[in-house]
């Protein structure tokens, strides 16, 4: 990364373009704000998502609802499938690696995906360590259930955070819980004095420098999206009103009755998240929503949000 101030770069070697800097990684997520990122499993679905106005697609082998249903080990997607989706659309393409599986992440970088999601939806490869995300040119997004978890991921190099929610349930309750928790943790930090921030860092189990930065900014130093359970336009708008800067929708779109129409409606409701008239209008005639799962009947071992630490 450049250490010269923007106003005084010298000519010569400093003129060479620099890739993979924290600024271009975090800046990429800034460009996605106010948008919807959709899980897709085929090039056809990717095109439907792009037509509907998605800002990016997440290339997956199976949507989380099917991962739940089928069981077994969930891994990085087939490179051919990812290539097919990259070739099908002009918008950014993201893909998931298993937690701690830095070789899957290396492969995704080699394939040219635009963002890597080190995701609890896949079966973790390491139950102690997440991947060192600073080692990559491709930026990473990671899930979090609270501020401490978010800051640990940022310390490891994540350039974007999403609240975890509970993927594949079509139930927004956990997304709400995690977004409220992260936002409340941030608000609380802004009320502490300088002396108290050291203990706050200890309690959050996060680096002091990041804790201090959040206390000063009143927000994360990276973009914060919501994920895990959004199934309707109103769900997306709810997450935006709770402070999300954008929304990931997984199974909610392609497990519904009319994916194209629902996808477009979720995009519109995300842009006009504070306008109930628009949300009402786009919520009409969408057909069946995905059926959904009650999270309080979900056994602890089947809760993806508990993966990662």
């Amino acid at each position: 990364m450049s250490t010269t101030s923007p106003a005084t770069p010298s000519h010569g070697e400093g003129d060479q373009p620099q890739v993979g800097t924290a600024r271009v990684k975090r800046g990429m997520a800034e460009q996605l704000k106010g948008g919807v990122i959709m899980d897709v499993v085929t090039p056809e679905q990717a095109r439907i998502a792009e037509d509907a106005g998605a800002v990016a697609v997440m290339a997956l082998e199976r949507v989380p609802a099917d991962i739940r249903k089928d069981g077994g080990v969930a891994r990085m997607s087939d490179p051919d499938m990812i290539d097919g989706i990259i070739n099908a659309v002009s918008i950014p393409v993201m893909a998931k690696s298993r937690i701690g599986h830095f070789v899957e992440a290396q492969v995704l970088q080699a394939l040219g995906v635009d963002y890597i999601d080190e995701s609890e939806v896949l079966t973790p490869a390491d139950e102690v360590n997440h991947s060192d995300k600073w080692a990559f040119t491709t930026p990473f997004v990671c899930g979090a259930t609270n501020l401490g978890e978010a800051l640990r991921r940022i310390a490891e190099g994540a350039a974007m955070i999403r609240s975890k929610g509970e993927a594949g349930t079509g139930n927004v309750v956990e997304a709400v819980r995690h977004m409220r928790q992260i936002r409340a943790d941030i608000r609380r930090l802004t009320t502490l004095d300088e002396n108290e921030l050291f203990v706050a860092a200890k309690n959050l189990q996060a680096p002091y420098e990041l804790v201090k930065e959040v206390a000063t900014l009143g927000k994360l130093p990276v973009v914060l999206f919501s994920a895990g359970g959004v199934a309707t336009p109103a769900d997306a708008a709810l997450m935006m009103q709770l402070g999300a800067e954008g929304v990931f929708v997984g199974s909610g779109i392609f497990k519904s009755g009319d994916p194209a129409k629902r996808a477009a409606a979720v995009v519109k409701a995300t842009t006009f998240f504070d306008d109930p008239d628009v949300i009402a209008k786009v919520s009409r005639g969408l057909g069946e929503a995905m059926v959904g799962i009650n999270c309080d009947t979900l056994p602890e071992t089947e809760r993806y949000a508990n993966r990662g630490w």
């Binding site: 373009p17 996605l32 704000k33 106010g34 918008i91 842009t271 006009f272």
Partner: protein
């Protein structure tokens, strides 16, 4: 007009907040724009960075495209960064087949011209007419300007690297466009340059 012009930021999607902050630093009053009626009473408009296909899609869906074109035709000063540059281009290469732009600048822009995110980069950029040395350019899946018409002034070209010499900032009349994102750097000289243009247009 008062010395504090009102500048809208197209808020359909993208880094709206960063532009609003930069405009405030440049002594303009920033206002989000999502509806056609919000285009009235503006002295200028910024089209932010974001995903150009999404912006275009939403502009059409919510009836903003024609009002935007009308305001550009009337001479409203507009600045577009990255996706905003694509929105101001008369012609787009490597876009969706049905991708529409507001247009106004007689140029052909190539979308994602430098490559995918792994090729996104930072580079110093000499910007004609700005004092204080080169800008720090942040290019994210950025477009470049493939060609311009006679009335278009080229303000910046890349100094080095594989795309050296490519045009990355242009102006035509009251319309300004950059491939890069000055709103992400804390250096507000491009926004100050645009706000000066807005003030001059209102006189």
């Amino acid at each position: 007009m008062s010395s504090t012009p009102t500048v809208g930021v197209l808020a359909l999607q993208g880094d709206v907040r960063e532009h609003a902050v930069a405009l405030a630093e440049a002594d303009a009053l920033a206002r989000p724009v999502r509806r056609p009626e919000e285009l009235a009473d503006l002295d200028g408009l910024v089209i932010p960075g974001g995903e150009s296909t999404t912006m275009s899609n939403l502009a059409l869906a919510f009836g903003l495209m024609e009002p935007l074109r009308a305001r550009v035709a009337e001479g409203l000063p507009v600045y577009g960064s990255c996706a905003g540059m694509i929105m101001l281009a008369d012609k787009i290469l490597d876009g969706r087949d049905d991708q529409q732009s507001v247009g106004g600048i007689d140029m052909t822009v190539r979308r994602n011209a430098f490559g995918r995110q792994n090729e996104s980069f930072e580079s110093p950029v000499d910007f004609a007419g700005l004092e204080g040395g080169p800008l720090h350019g942040v290019f994210i899946r950025a477009p470049w300007v493939e060609s311009v018409g006679a009335g278009v002034e080229v303000l910046a070209e890349l100094p080095a690297g594989p795309a050296a010499g490519r045009t990355v900032a242009v102006r035509q009349g009251n319309l300004l466009a950059t491939s890069f994102h000055p709103e992400l750097t804390g250096d507000h000289r491009v926004h100050a340059f645009f706000v000066d243009l807005v003030r001059a247009a209102a006189r």
